[in-house]
């Protein structure tokens, strides 16, 4: 229970007090503003401000009018709050090809993310469940390949996948992208589920088998209810991963099926016309909103998710 922090905090206090009192008793006097505390909280606060700064600037910029942006600096709070940039970013911003805003990309992303997440988790969990209870020859090699596979740069696989999608006739469609996300999310999620299911005591399976449950019975009635957290973790990985994806989106879709990130990049980095920084920032926030919401709602599970999902491309 002890901890170097609290201990050293008091160390500073002890030194200061030792000279003053000859008969120490009671708790060591703690100075809230000890040098140590100032250092720790000072450093953390400064770093925290650095981390928050971009978010602050995004929000502030998106609420200003263009004239105000041109005269002021990026950190100044808006003198006159306007939601016009948000409306424009959502409904009217131009990508160079069309001018119907981010809404199209948003709905594309939703239509990509929802089925991809559901399908990939369903498949990965069943795979993981089967693999956890099915020890086969070369299993170790198989899992090593799986892990290494998770590290392979996608660049070496994107072109062959283009060919496959063309053959299937889904190149450039949302369906195609859903397939891509499902396949590429497979190794890490399978691994995640397999490791989780492998940690479930084997006696539980045996007991269920004795009680007459079959493969699916055990999966649906025993494993699934008891592994809710891991499903949430997998969902966090997949939702943020797929929503934030850019490479697959730009390679496998066409302008009308672009996911949000691709569309956002086109809006902001399009060379035509006057740069509307406030609209750009509003668009950027809107795009970041879904993963941010996932992050703030899921809290500690997110941390678990990133530790597991960090290996993912």
């Amino acid at each position: 229970m002890s901890n170097p922090a609290t201990l050293a905090v008091t160390a500073a206090g002890a030194d200061a007090a030792a000279g003053m009192m000859s008969d120490p008793r009671g708790a060591r006097p703690r100075k809230i503003l000890s040098r140590r505390n100032i250092f720790i909280y000072g450093t953390l606060t400064v770093v925290a401000l650095y981390y928050l700064l971009p978010l602050y600037v995004m929000v502030v910029t998106s609420l200003k009018g263009m004239p105000e942006i041109r005269v002021g600096n990026v950190f100044a709070p808006p003198l006159e709050i306007t939601f016009e940039p948000w409306v424009k970013a959502w409904a009217k911003a131009c990508t160079g090809l069309n001018c119907d805003g981010l809404s199209r990309g948003f709905w594309n992303s939703v239509r990509i993310t929802v089925p991809s997440v559901i399908i990939s988790i369903a498949i990965a969990s069943i795979n993981g469940y089967a693999l956890a209870n099915w020890r086969f020859k070369g299993a170790n090699l198989f899992f090593t390949i799986l892990i290494v596979g998770a590290f392979i740069p996608y660049q070496v696989m994107i072109y062959p996948v283009v060919i496959i999608l063309r053959e299937l006739g889904v190149y450039g469609t949302l369906t195609g992208l859903v397939i891509v996300h499902t396949i590429f999310g497979m190794p890490i999620n399978t691994l995640l589920f397999r490791n989780y299911f492998a940690s479930v005591p084997e006696e539980l399976f045996k007991a269920a088998r004795v009680d007459g449950a079959g493969f699916w019975g055990i999966y649906f009635r025993i494993m699934m209810p008891m592994s809710l957290p891991i499903f949430v973790v997998a969902m966090i990985i997949q939702v943020t991963g797929i929503w934030n994806d850019f490479l697959f989106g730009v390679v496998y879709t066409k302008p009308e099926t672009y996911p949000m990130t691709v569309q956002l990049n086109n809006i902001v980095n399009s060379v035509q016309g006057v740069k509307e920084y406030n609209v750009n920032m509003a668009a950027t926030i809107i795009t970041g909103l879904v993963p941010l919401l996932v992050y703030f709602i899921s809290g500690k599970l997110f941390v678990r998710g990133i530790a597991a999902g960090a290996v993912k491309g």
Partner: protein, 276 residues
């Protein structure tokens, strides 16, 4: 299904490697030209610039994110108040995509409105920090954004590692009268070696794939000053219609990842499996 994925992964990878020895242009064609594509690759200034950029970015990003991540984790591990708040703040950028990250920092580093203009308006007229339009330092502009996005992850991994250290070790070190910095340096950090290695591999494999951030923040510019290999691959495959070059470049990327990951996977998983 998982096997399908493996077949696509392995098959696709092998396919790309095979075709990297051909002179495919607009369409893949099996006309082998030996190592020609690689010769051309390594004599293309843009590729060499990409590699150099990746090197600078990679090494600095590795060192700084490990260092900052560990220090932040160590500070958070001091039984402080508001630990959750701080952790939430340090980690939220990781939830954002590289596209969002790149665009925000593009705006923050905008020479006319961003950091440079703000500092100048405070009275320091000669202050110059314009990474996005200065070929020499554009890579540092990317680094700032990359660190902002990724350090939270390193911090989390490090914090988990620190929390895994036996409390008694700290007590023993205190009874032995070992100063805290020495305890960290000589006892805790060596104990966390596996965490460091895993983190290193994760960061390194992320660096090789660096793409979205560059596209969003600098589009590879100014000139080719912030080009990276992943972007080279994409541009040659889908824009320049020179598939062979793209395949060769992507194979080089794969090679570098293999060099990083395979020894680690062997250490990490080969050893563990034998015990099971």
């Amino acid at each position: 299904m998982i096997f399908t994925a493996l077949v696509v992964f392995l098959g696709g990878t092998i396919w790309t490697i095979v075709y990297s020895f051909t002179n495919s242009k607009l369409l893949p064609r099996l006309r082998f030209v030996g190592l020609d594509q690689y010769d051309r690759l390594w004599s293309t200034p843009r590729w060499l610039a990409s590699i150099e950029n990746l090197f600078i970015y990679g090494i600095l990003s590795l060192i700084l994110s490990l260092l900052i991540g560990f220090i932040l984790a160590a500070l958070l591990d001091q039984k402080i108040r508001f630990e959750d708040t701080f952790r939430t703040i340090f980690l939220y950028p990781f939830a954002l995509s590289f596209i969002v990250t790149g665009l925000v920092w593009q705006w923050l580093l905008n020479p006319d409105f961003g950091v440079q203009s703000v500092v100048r308006s405070l009275g320091w007229d000669s202050f110059t920090f314009n990474p996005l339009y200065d070929q020499r330092i554009v890579i540092y502009g990317l680094l700032i954004a990359g660190l902002w996005q990724g350090t939270g992850l390193v911090m989390c991994l490090m914090l988990a590692g620190l929390r895994g250290i036996d409390e008694d070790i700290w007590k023993a070190a205190r009874v032995d009268g070992i100063p805290m910095w020495k305890t960290y340096l000589f006892i805790v950090v060596p104990m966390m070696r596996p965490v460091f290695i895993t983190t290193l591999v994760i960061i390194a494999s992320g660096i090789v794939r660096l793409y979205d951030l560059v596209v969003a923040q600098t589009s590879g510019g100014p000139g080719h000053a912030s080009e990276v290999p992943a972007k080279y691959v994409y541009d040659y495959m889908f824009a320049a219609q020179n598939l062979g070059q793209g395949f060769a470049a992507s194979t080089m990327m794969l090679l570098s990842v293999v060099i990083v990951v395979v020894p680690w996977a062997y250490l990490e998983f080969g050893g563990r499996d034998r015990r099971v």
